[in-house]
């Protein structure tokens, strides 16, 4: 039963990318927007291992992690652009 949430999260991720592509969003925007619902969907999957974790904390962690990810993504993209 637990792994259903994992499968659902993967489906949400794929759907997010597809929707972003259909709406003509940029790669960066699509990437981060598709990741957020996917991670939120992973909460029930993770809960048994972290019984004290609350959804609000999970959402906050994702927001901060998303920001870090976004900044590093932009930094490395820029770095690669400069190298090329």
């Amino acid at each position: 039963m637990r792994y259903i949430w994992l499968v659902l999260a993967l489906l949400v991720a794929v759907m997010g990318v597809l929707v972003g592509r259909l709406l003509g969003l940029s790669l960066e925007t699509t990437s981060i927007l598709a990741a957020i619902p996917m991670f939120l969907m992973l909460f029930p999957f993770l809960k048994p291992w972290m019984p004290k974790l609350k959804f609000a904390h999970w959402a906050l962690s994702i927001a901060i992690g998303g920001a870090v990810s976004w900044l590093l993504y932009l930094a490395f993209s820029g770095l690669l652009h400069l190298v090329r």
């Binding site: 990318v17 990741a35 996917m38 999970w58 906050l60 992690g65 490395f76």
Partner: protein, 303 residues
């Protein structure tokens, strides 16, 4: 006989049993003469035969039933149940005969050899049957139920010890007990470890606080005597053995990051396909950093 004496005897016998059953290295075995008597006294059984014996014990022995039930109640959460047919039975017969009630035809010798040195308690002639029922195990962890039946040198039944035990390999590559709960009259008594420890759940997926022993200062586990390490080495300056990476919370973050990064790699691959060759490296680096941040925050908030 006092129960503590019985447990000491059972522990020492278990050590002797391990010493007999653990295979020697080729170099050592070529030189050492095998102790034929000791080998003849020890038997190892496994599989369906032992499984059926455990099922019988589960039916008629409330300590065994209670010990196994502790694992079974967590099965829905961790998908690990006692693997009865993988149980191993290790028997060291008493010197006087098989590990059975045979006192009628074997008696201990009435005279002992004269010695000028004060004689220490010698349990080598005692017998023990040890049944190990695994519920979860991998290369560096073992969780399960242990049943010890003790016999005196004449084969008289001394008593039984039933416990749920969790062991792991510590930083010095030796097996060490980190949880032990013994059962008397169907009731469990925590001897070592943390009462919040969830039996059957791998150590890395436990609440990090639940694997910190709360009762370690009260007493040490009995089954520890049967482990391969008598003492846990202390790191210099009072730090944990093995450094920061041996801390459960740090190990959990690393494992979480590794698993998350694998997922990110797949996801970046999918995104690259959809966007006709989108940059994989920035996606992977950014994603892994994000996963690491999330895992760290979850380890802080969730424990």
């Amino acid at each position: 006989m006092k129960k503590s004496t019985l447990y000491v005897a059972l522990g020492l016998l278990a050590v002797a049993l391990f010493a007999v059953t653990v295979p020697m290295s080729p170099g050592t075995s070529a030189k050492a003469k095998p102790d034929v008597t000791a080998l003849e006294r020890s038997h190892v059984k496994r599989g369906l035969e032992v499984g059926n014996r455990v099922r019988d014990l589960q039916k008629y022995n409330r300590n065994v039933r209670a010990a196994l039930a502790q694992f079974e109640k967590n099965e829905k959460r961790n998908h690990n149940k006692p693997k009865l047919d993988e149980a191993v039975s290790v028997i060291q017969d008493p010197a006087g005969g098989s590990a059975a009630l045979n006192s009628a035809h074997t008696m201990a010798k009435p005279f002992r050899r004269v010695s000028l040195k004060a004689q220490e308690a010698d349990y080598s002639a005692y017998g023990v049957e040890m049944i190990l029922i695994p519920t979860f195990y991998d290369d560096d962890e073992w969780q399960g139920t242990v049943i010890l039946n003790g016999f005196d040198p004449s084969g008289n039944y001394l008593g039984q010890y039933v416990a749920d035990v969790a062991l792991n390999v510590d930083s010095t590559d030796t097996w060490d007990v980190y949880y032990e709960s013994a059962y008397y009259e169907g009731q469990g008594y925590l001897l070592y470890g943390n009462p919040n420890f969830e039996l059957g759940t791998p150590r890395d997926f436990q609440d990090p606080d639940a694997i910190q022993p709360m009762l370690s200062t009260v007493r040490r586990p009995d089954f520890r005597k049967a482990s391969f390490s008598a003492t846990t080495p202390q790191a210099p300056f009072g730090g944990p053995p093995g450094g920061i990476f041996s801390r459960p919370r740090v190990r959990w973050v690393l494992k979480c990051t590794a698993m998350g990064s694998a997922g990110v790699a797949v996801r970046c691959g999918v995104v690259s396909i959809f966007f006709a060759g989108g940059p994989f490296v920035p996606c992977q680096v950014g994603g892994s950093a994000g996963v690491f941040t999330v895992c760290t925050l979850v380890a802080i908030f969730g424990t």
